[in-house]
Each structure stands twice: as structure tokens, then as C-alpha cells.
Amino acid sequence: MADLQLQDIIKPENQVYGKSKILTDNAMHYCYGCSHGVVHKLIAEVIEEMGIQDKTVGVSPVGCSVFMYDYLNVDFMEAAHGKAPAVATGYKRTNPDKYVFTYQGDGDLAAIGTGETLHTVNRGENIVMIFINNAIYGMTGGQMAPTTMLGQVTATTPYGRDVDLNGYPLKITELLAQLPGAAYVTRQSVHTPANVRKCKKAIRKAFENSAKNIGTSFVEVVSTCNSGWKITPVEANKWMEENMFPFYPLGDLKDSEHDDLEQYKVQKLKK
């Protein structure tokens, strides 16, 4: 055994885990502790496992994940701020055989793009929407997001988010789950190995749904932004569990697989 070299061990048959072929070799620009990298990896694995690289087109937003197209080896469209669901709608309507997914942060999806988000889900566009909710604007330097918690200090709420001044944090996922066009609405996280596995299952289901033409599949990932929150990655996970999960509880909000979607349906006018 003393003669065993490293190259003898690194063989395909010995490998139990590896980087998805859908991920490029580009070093990600995300901060240490950021959730983006993990969610990117999960999307890449789902695309690879489903064998749909040549049928998948992503829409990257304005925000930290604007360069997502540098990390996933699929065709991409970079959308204007908040407009990813509209871009995805136009693409999917004219290319119904493709898998189309959007990837947006809280500012993009739930502030500037609220209108597009709501109407895209309400029309039941057969796309996948991934929503990264880290309760802050990461790229612009940590300003208040629509999902920022009450009392949370950000660059634009230096004394903490105040209801009188800033209104309430927006539970957009709960709102979207009420819409008849939504087929699958779930809230996940990626802060523990068990949660990473659950989140991957959710993303996989969302992609599978889009081939079934049953409506929009929406996956929120409650995420950390330790740089924006100005704490360490470990503290960020704890802060998220203690402060965000009670307000943004994890789990499925709606699933066409076991929920009666009829209750959401709207009656047609009688002739």
C-alpha cells in the first residue's frame, strides 16, 4: 500500500462525487458563504441529470447573479432589472419545446419586477422561476430589499427597517401561491446538507413540471448574504434560521401533485 500514488486513487471508478459537467471552470465571483454558488450547482446537476442541456435556456437578472451565464454552460439571456419573467415568457411562448428558467434575487423579483413576476405566474407560463431571497440588495452594497426583516439594519435602513418609513417585508411567495397559474410553489434553503438535498429535489420537480405544461413552478431559496449582513458565514446561517425562517417558513406552499388545484380555478362567464 505504501506505493499507492494519488493518481491511482483519482480514477473514474473511485469517484463518488464530482462537479457537474454543466458548471464551467470559471471561478465564481460570489463571496465566501454566499448561497448563490450552491443553488447554481443544484440547477447544473438537475440539467445534467435530466439530459436537457441543449433544450435549456436561462435568464439571468440584474443583481449579484447577473453573471450566472459565466458559470452554467447553457444558453442564456441577460434581462433588464426585474424583467426576467417577461423575457422568459416571450422566449417560452415562441419556443414551447425549450426548458426556460429565470433566476432572480429579491430586489429583482419582488420590487422592480413585481408586476412581471405576478402576471407571469398568473398566466401560468410553463417556466421555472428560482427566487433567491436574502433580505438585502447584495450587488449595490447592502440596501433594503422588499424582503428585508423589520428592524434589520441595511445601508438604506441604518436604524433598522421601520414599518412607518418602509412598510412591511413582502411575502411574495405566499402571494404567488394563491394564483391559479402556479402549479408548484415551494420555499427551500441550502444551509445544511439535508436542506441542499431537499432543495435539489424541488428544483428537479420544477424542471420536470415545465415539460408537463401545468403552469409555473416557483422555488424560493431563503439565502444568506453575510457580506451584506456584515456577519460571518456561520453567523449568517444562524441569523437566517432565527430571524428569517419564522417569517419565511420552509416547505411546499402548493404542489399540483397532491393539492387540489381546482380551488384556485376561476369560473368562466356563463353564456
Binding site: 442541456q53 441543449d54 433544450k55 435549456t56 435556456v57 435568464v59 447577473v66 453573471f67 451565464y69 452554467l72 454552460n73 447553457v74 444558453d75 442564456f76 439571456m77 441577460e78 434581462a79 433588464a80 424583467k83 417577461a86 423575457v87 422568459a88 415568457t89 416571450g90 422566449y91 417560452k92 411562448r93 415562441t94 419556443n95 425549450k98 408586476g115 412581471e116 402576471h119
Partner: protein, 362 residues
């Protein structure tokens, strides 16, 4: 003769879109152009040619739907009127930056603000100078008849795909609402996937194949040197448009001592003014720009060199195109402006009088 009909300009845009093999229309209602989407919805082209029609939740959404659909190399369009085009201006900038071909129809109404629903040409600056942030231009076609509403749909798509640049049909409320005789184009089938691959396969985001890198549709470039390189490429494209695709019509210009420059509805009115003046023995001609961008600078400059004594720019605005006419004439001779605002349509006698008072000095 082909398929002759009596139709509204707006209805013709819809019919021409179906007939030229358009893949998708995304729009939002606004007066005076709502008949475009209404006609499409009534025609149900998705059953006939497979063309998609979708009413969006806003103009901001519809222009971004165009961005998405155009990213796949499909032939797609939207339409609106002035305030709606303002809402699309972010999207126009992104489309130009990402070099996506598409068609935008602006059936203009008077502004600023909510303004009036009456016809206007006051979006000339917005249409020809870019209409959004950053250095860019749209290809801008100005129809002066319902027939040209038909003809320019296909032409706009051709130019748009030639240059990989958004193209705009800049009409006005009168051209949109007027019923005229029109000969509709022959039906052309929508492009097949293979045709799209041949035409746009080098850039379109239509699914990463094993034999190529991923295709990214974006206007983002953080490295200044690379962004400047991209800008230089865009500027070269605009220069090429100026060299190859300027379109205009000359009426009675051969012996003209005075020339009216007017586009769209103003050109129709000015043509009548030319007739009135010619009857009086005054040698007046009409230059009608068909492409407002690229602008017919060269021919105006040549006419000024030939000894034309004065130009009158007739527009339904406060005098916008007159600036481009002055740039073309470059001080060689007199350039005047005449126009109404707020949806008022000039009458030919008025234009004829202004030619006499401002250019000839009678």
C-alpha cells in the same frame, strides 16, 4: 393585381405581420393603435401560421417579451403609441445593446405626458436619436400611406435581420386610423427551425449544442475596453446603414428652386402644397425621407450644392427633423420649419403660404 382591400393602417400592420411570417406579437393596448392587437386576436394566426399573439401586462413587459423571443432568432414584434414607447425605451436600449432584430411600431400621438390621442410626429427625436440610454440608433421607417404600412412590415424585418438591430415603423394616428386601398403582400411561411439555424445559428440562444459554446444574449460588459470595442462595432453598423440603406422619395425635385422636406402624413399634405405652388408657377419639390434613420443627409446636401434656394421642413411637432435638415444643408442655404403641435393637422394652403412667406419672401 394581388389581394386588394380597403383597410385601416393599423389593421394592415396586423395582416402584414401574419403574411410576412412573423413568429410573435406581444403588446399592450393604447390609442390610437389598439386595432393592431385586436385584429390579430380576431384573426387567430396561431391556428393558421403558428404566430403567437399575447397581450402583456404593460409596455415594459411586452418589449422584454420581444427581447426574450428575439433571442431565439425568431421574427417578433410589438406596437404602441408615444407614451407606451417611452415605457419601452429601457428595453429598446437593451435590444440595441444585445443586437437583437425585432420590429416596434409607434403610431404616434401628441405629447408630452399623456398628451392627446390625436396624431403627431413629436417622437421624431426619440425614434431617430436612440430613444433610450447609451449610444444607439434604431432603424426608423416612416410610412406615408396605408400601403406603406403593409410594405414596411416586411422591409423592417429584413433590415432588422440584416443589421441585427431593432427596427421601428414610425407612423402617426392618421396613418393608423385612415382606411385606404391596399394591396396586401403574398403569404410567406414562417421560418423553419433549419432556416433560423442558417440565418441566426451563430448567435441565437436556441439551446447549447455539443459542437458550440453557449450563446449569451447580453448587453453587459464591465471592462471599459471591451465595452468601447462593442460601441465601435455598433457605430460601424450605423455607418453601414447610412451607406447602404437610406431610402427617400423625390417629387418634382429635378427643377425645384425650393424643397419641402416632410415625412409620413406631413409629406402627404406637403405634396398637395407642391401642386398648389406649381400651379402658380413656383418651382417647388418634395423630398420625403422614408428612412428617418439612416437620414437622407447626402441627397439633401447634394440638392443644396445644386443651388436649391431654400428648404422647408414640415412636421407635426415643434421642429425636430429640421435640425437634421440643417445639419445636412450645413449653412449652404436657408432652412426653415413649419408645423403644428398637439394633434393639429396642417392644411396644404397653409404650407404653400409658408413656402412663399418664409422661403421666397413674398
Amino acid at each position: 393585381m394581388g389581394d386588394l382591400r380597403l383597410m385601416k393602417g393599423n389593421e394592415v400592420i396586423a395582416e402584414a405581420a401574419i403574411r410576412c411570417g412573423c413568429d410573435g406579437y406581444f403588446g399592450y393596448p393604447i390609442t390610437p393603435q389598439s386595432e393592431i392587437m385586436e385584429t390579430l386576436m380576431a384573426r387567430r394566426p396561431w391556428e393558421e401560421t403558428g404566430m403567437v399573439v399575447l397581450q402583456a401586462e404593460s409596455e415594459a413587459a411586452s418589449i422584454n417579451m420581444i427581447y426574450g423571443a428575439a433571442s431565439s432568432g425568431k421574427k417578433v414584434m410589438t406596437s404602441s403609441s408615444s407614451p407606451g414607447i417611452s415605457l419601452m425605451s429601457e428595453g429598446l436600449s437593451y435590444l440595441a445593446g444585445a443586437e437583437l432584430p425585432c420590429l416596434i411600431v409607434n403610431v404616434q400621438r401628441g405629447g408630452p405626458g399623456l398628451g392627446t390621442i390625436q396624431p403627431s410626429q413629436s417622437d421624431y427625436f426619440q425614434a431617430t436619436k436612440g430613444g433610450g440610454h447609451g449610444d444607439f440608433h434604431l432603424i426608423v421607417l416612416a410610412p406615408a400611406s396605408v400601403q406603406e404600412m403593409n410594405d414596411f412590415v416586411d422591409l423592417a424585418f429584413q433590415l432588422s435581420f440584416k443589421y441585427l438591430n431593432p427596427a421601428m415603423i414610425l407612423a402617426d394616428g392618421v396613418i393608423g386610423q385612415t382606411m385606404e386601398k391596399v394591396e396586401l403582400s403574398e403569404f410567406k411561411p414562417r421560418w423553419t427551425e433549419q432556416e433560423i439555424q442558417e440565418l441566426s445559428g451563430s448567435w441565437a440562444a436556441n439551446g447549447k449544442k455539443a459542437n458550440r459554446n453557449s450563446h449569451i444574449i447580453t448587453s453587459l460588459e464591465l471592462v471599459s475596453e471591451k465595452q468601447e470595442k462593442h460601441n465601435i462595432k455598433l457605430q460601424a453598423k450605423y455607418k453601414k446603414m447610412q451607406e447602404e440603406d437610406v431610402r427617400y422619395e423625390l417629387i418634382n425635385c429635378d427643377d425645384a428652386e425650393y424643397i419641402i422636406v416632410a415625412f409620413g402624413l406631413s409629406a402627404r399634405i406637403s405634396q398637395k402644397a407642391v401642386d398648389i405652388l406649381r400651379e402658380k408657377g413656383i418651382k417647388v419639390g418634395l423630398l420625403r425621407p422614408i428612412t428617418l434613420y439612416p437620414f437622407p443627409t447626402k441627397i439633401i446636401s447634394q440638392l443644396a450644392d445644386k443651388g436649391v434656394k431654400g428648404f422647408l421642413s414640415v412636421e407635426m411637432n415643434a421642429g425636430q427633423m429640421v435640425e437634421d435638415v440643417r445639419l445636412a444643408v450645413n449653412g449652404k442655404t436657408k432652412v426653415e420649419y413649419f408645423g403644428h403641435m398637439g394633434g393639429i393637422i396642417a392644411n396644404p394652403n397653409e404650407v404653400a403660404e409658408v413656402v412663399q412667406s418664409k422661403l421666397i419672401g413674398e
